[in-house]
């Protein structure tokens, strides 16, 4: 895969993503190429300073560059590159950094709103939440590293995204994630899930940020390629946001943080390619995280930012020093000269090539105000971190790298990013699937049995086993803990709070990428609405297969169109993102998975609501129309064992009207509980509300076929509870607003009682809900 980090169009080049870059030799893709040419040897010995090694076709291929791309380099330079220069080009021009396959499509995403301070193109997106405060957030993938070494892969994914946020001057206040694993029966799944969860917890818990929400799914299409998407959210003063663009000539460029080692140099070997045989051998390409160093880096960075020492700052992620230095210079229209002899190294004898491509973690590059250099150094020394002036800005717009008295690279800095190839790859639309009706699906079991099975199924059951390994209460601001629609995190001492969620329904995206893309955005918007928040902006993490296959490229293009439409209609712009392509193993792609991380604002968190039923004898209302859409539903897949049909369409105007209606009910204190209806449909949603409180419900006979009504996955729906006396008024208000709504029944008792069905005890539901994941992870067969 290529984890193209900042998945957005005007994102210049790479910036710091922790996952990819550099060379790209051993993969299916490259081995296909290698059939025509001899296998690519790794450069065994660094070229002697000043000497130019012969750049062979094999070496070019080993750096993940095509012959055409190499011709472009020759034209740009007017000579043959040195090995170090070739490495720098490969780092800047891989999919991950250059977005060469996705760039032209990402331009369609809406990125503006009055509250957007910084859209895509920086380390993270920034939005204004009033009171002089800004929220800085982003999501990023660490898929292949996590498959190879789940603990460190996931841990460094969290570390990378946290750095993106605090690089901009924000103190991280919450983390979320979205995880996709293979079928529970696949022999690797348990190992990957255990390692990834421990890694996310291991890093976030130690760093000291609450991990408040996320999602976990299982599907056989992720068997050989799990997805680990991590999101971080931070808070900063609105007028103290820090950016990457350098300014001023002759300014010191300072290296901060941990030392540089040889780790991650061949990161892109695995990150910019599909998986095949020999994946195990790639373990050394995964970096090792040090959350303690990152915590120190956070505190030191925020301290020198508060002291007004910083002109520009960029963290070192993907292609470490290369990307961060080029980014700072290019964005500031300046040249950069680096002296590698001054770089703090973990081991001696590192070559320029290795230093430029190392992906050692917990490092930063800054341009400091010269008069503040000593003050900044004292702060870093206090925190026990390395601090070294390793270069300066120049007026030349050239990227010059010196090592041992020699010039190892001398390249035009703007062209490194701006002249990266851009591809309009062929793409074909996914064939439309037929629409299934309730009559096309015979219910194989009774409603009660279907509910019990669904609620205890891998995709719907409780994720307690996961989120109990994440510290979700640290910082003392977690209003709504994991397990609800969206997490709610108080801002400072309140009353404002953020609502946070991650969402996508990959099976919908597979069946119809456009509708699936829309639905992912709509569901995030809905989850934020269901806790009473006003959705403000989102970050996207687009995980797809090999873009060189037209059908995969078609999925990507379709999903982006769908996301764009939904963002537009819901005034929910994209402010940051990441693209991860080549998520394939032996030619089998993952389900298209455009994860959406949504952020919403609550003016007063005490007015938010949770999904738990609050009292007995309250009216249960359904907002939104139920036709009984079973195509691509969990009921169809898990109960009927059919993965078929078109997914439920999202009518964005209806989505907005229904959501605005529910949000108003919550804000006015009329809705005592609210829950969006998503995976599994209406009855599982009601069951979740009952389980969260222990209060049951008595439900009326449905107006359409029971299995379609209770388990259909029609969109834009919410379940809310209101005091019985106001139910009629609320329904009348809905009619007046053109919002479909009906009463489903009343809360009360210790069971879900459906007319014409046997009662289902809430205690029994809980047992099923809490049972599967813990038992599975304890080693019981899937």
């Amino acid at each position: 895969m290529i984890a193209g980090d900042r998945g957005l169009p005007n994102r210049a080049s790479c910036v710091n993503d922790t996952k990819s870059t550099a060379m790209a030799p051993t993969s299916n893709k490259s081995s296909t190429r290698a059939r025509k040419k001899p296998p690519a040897p790794r450069p065994k010995r660094r070229p002697k300073a000043g000497k130019r090694a012969k750049v062979s076709p094999a070496l070019i291929a080993a750096h993940g560059l095509t012959a055409e791309e190499y011709q472009r380099i020759l034209a740009l330079m007017g000579r043959e590159p040195s090995i170090t220069e070739l490495g720098i080009f490969s780092a800047m021009w891989n999919e991950h950094c250059s977005y060469k396959s996705s760039k032209i499509h990402l331009r369609m995403l809406p990125t503006k709103a009055p509250w957007v301070i910084q859209g895509p193109g920086e380390n993270a997106g920034v939005i204004d939440i009033g009171d002089g405060l800004a929220v800085v957030f982003k999501m990023e993938s660490h898929n292949h590293p996590s498959y190879i070494e789940p603990y460190q892969g996931a841990a460094t994914g969290v570390g990378g995204i946290l750095r993106d946020v605090f690089t901009m001057g924000a103190r991280p206040i919450a983390c979320l994630n979205a995880l996709s694993f293979g079928a529970p029966t696949h022999p690797q799944t348990r190992h990957l899930l255990a390692g990834v969860v421990a890694g996310i917890g291991g890093y976030g818990n130690s760093f000291g940020v609450p991990t408040v929400g996320g999602s976990v799914r299982f599907h056989t299409r992720y068997d050989g390629n799990c997805l680990v998407n991590a999101m971080a959210v931070g808070l900063a003063p609105r007028d103290k946001i820090f950016y990457a663009a350098a300014s001023g000539v002759g300014m010191p460029i300072v290296y901060l943080g941990s030392k540089t080692g040889r780790d991650g140099i061949h990161g892109a070997t695995m990150a910019s390619a599909e998986f095949g045989e020999g994946t195990e051998e790639k373990r050394p390409t995964v970096q090792v995280g040090d959350p303690f160093a990152e915590k120190l880096l956070l505190e030191a960075c925020l301290e020198i930012m508060a002291k007004d020492c910083v002109i520009a700052i960029q963290d070192m992620g993907a292609a470490g020093l290369t990307c961060s230095a080029v980014e700072m210079g290019a964005k500031g229209d300046l040249g950069v000269t680096l002296d590698l002899d001054a770089v703090p190294c973990r081991e001696s004898g590192m070559s320029a090539y290795e230093m430029m491509l190392s992906e050692s973690q917990e490092r930063m590059l800054m341009v400091l105000k010269p008069e503040k250099e000593r003050e900044a150094e004292a702060i870093f020394r206090k925190w026990g971190l390395d601090f070294a002036v390793i270069g300066k800005t120049t007026p030349t717009k050239r990227f010059v790298v010196r090592h041992g008295g020699n010039v190892m690279a001398d390249l035009p800095i703007k062209e490194l990013g701006d002249e990266a190839p851009v591809y309009d790859r062929p793409h074909v639309e996914s064939p439309k699937k037929p629409v299934l009706t309730a009559a096309d699906v015979a219910p194989p079991v009774a409603t009660a049995d279907a509910l019990l099975r669904l609620i205890g199924s891998p995709d719907l059951c409780s994720r307690r086993w996961v989120w109990e390994q994440y510290d979700h209460v640290i910082l003392g601001n977690t209003v709504q803990r994991p397990g609800g629609d969206a997490a709610v995190v108080r801002i400072n001492d309140g009353p404002k709070a953020l609502a946070l969620t991650t969402d996508v329904t990959p099976r919908y995206c597979e069946a119809d990428p456009f509708e699936g893309g829309k639905q992912a955005v709509a569901e995030a918007w809905r989850n934020l609405t269901a806790v009473g928040a006003r959705p403000l902006a989102l970050t996207d993490n687009l995980n797809f297969g090999n873009p060189e296959r037209p059908e995969i490229m078609g999925q990507l293009v379709g999903a982006i169109h769908g996301i764009a439409d939904a963002c537009e209609a819901l005034e929910f712009p994209v402010v940051s993102g990441n693209v991860s392509l080549y998520n394939e193993t032996n030619g089998r792609a993952i389900l298209p998975t455009p994860t959406i991380g949504g952020v919403g604002l609550l003016e007063d968190f005490t007015k938010s609501t949770s999904l738990a039923f609050k009292r007995e004898e309250e009216a249960i209302l359904l907002v939104g129309e139920t036709a009984g859409w079973l195509g691509q539903s969990l009921y169809l897949r898990d109960i009927c064992e059919r993965e078929e049909g078109a997914p439920p369409p999202v009518d964005l105007a209806v989505e907005r009207a229904n959501g605005d209606f529910v949000r108003a009910l919550i804000a006015e204190g009329i809705a005592s509980a609210a829950h969006d209806v998503s995976d599994g449909g209406l009855l599982p949603a009601i069951a979740e509300m009952a389980m969260a409180s222990g209060i049951g419900a008595e439900l009326d006979r449905p107006p359409v076929a029971a299995h379609a009504f209770w388990f259909g996955e029609d969109q834009a729906r919410y379940v809310v509870t209101v005091a019985p006396g106001v139910a009629e008024t609320v329904l009348a208000r809905a009619r007046a607003a053109g919002v479909p709504a009906r009463q489903l029944g009343l809360t009360g008792g210790d069971a879900l009682t459906l007319e014409g069905e046997r009662p289902i005890l809430v205690a029994k539901l809980r047992e099923r809900f809490e049972g599967w994941l813990a038992a599975y992870m304890a080693g019981e067969p899937a």
Partner: protein, 233 residues
Amino acid sequence: MNSAVVVFPGINRERDMARALRLASGCEPAMVWHADTALPGGTDLVVVPGGFSYGDYLRCGAIAARAPIMDAVRAHAGRGGLVLGVCNGFQILCEAGLLPGVLMRNTAMKFICRDVYLRIERSDTPFTRGYNAGQVIRVPVAHGEGNYIADDATIARLEGEGRVLFRYADPGGALDPAWNVNGATNAIAGVLNEGGNVLGLMPHPENHVEAVLGPTDGRGLFAGLVDHFKQAA
């Protein structure tokens, strides 16, 4: 109540602790850097908060226990001054020799963050006077190494001298292995030193002090300490 919160590199619950102390006492606690060698004058209570001091590398609390500030903390304790260590703070106090025993990995071999129930064993100490003996409180844990262990003689002594102040229990206050979240010996969640002035506690009362966020059972500990110093004054 003048409190001082000791901050080691890698400590991360110092702000939570400072907020709880501020809410209970109305005074902003002093944040004391690990490299300092003295506590602020007039310090009544020293708090060693939770986190991952020095990354928990080597052994939880082992490096922090040897930091420069710890001599001042030992001296404060030696004078009978109150010291509270929570989570990593508990581990640090054990490593510093201020408390007996050690905190091993949870028996589940995983980090666990969840609300637990604690039975208050005694209410006649400065740390627990805000509670009633036998009372059950609900507070969160968030740790990977909270499984309290000491040799048999030490445990017998702790029990005999009534130095176990908090135990993991079920919501009704009964001891039950299923509710002993980390497998601690005798379900011990918090112990006193011999002098009765140093407490180590694994759970986080500082995270349950605000009604707008949920349970407030952690307040009793801080309110009790404030009362203790009021009475002493």
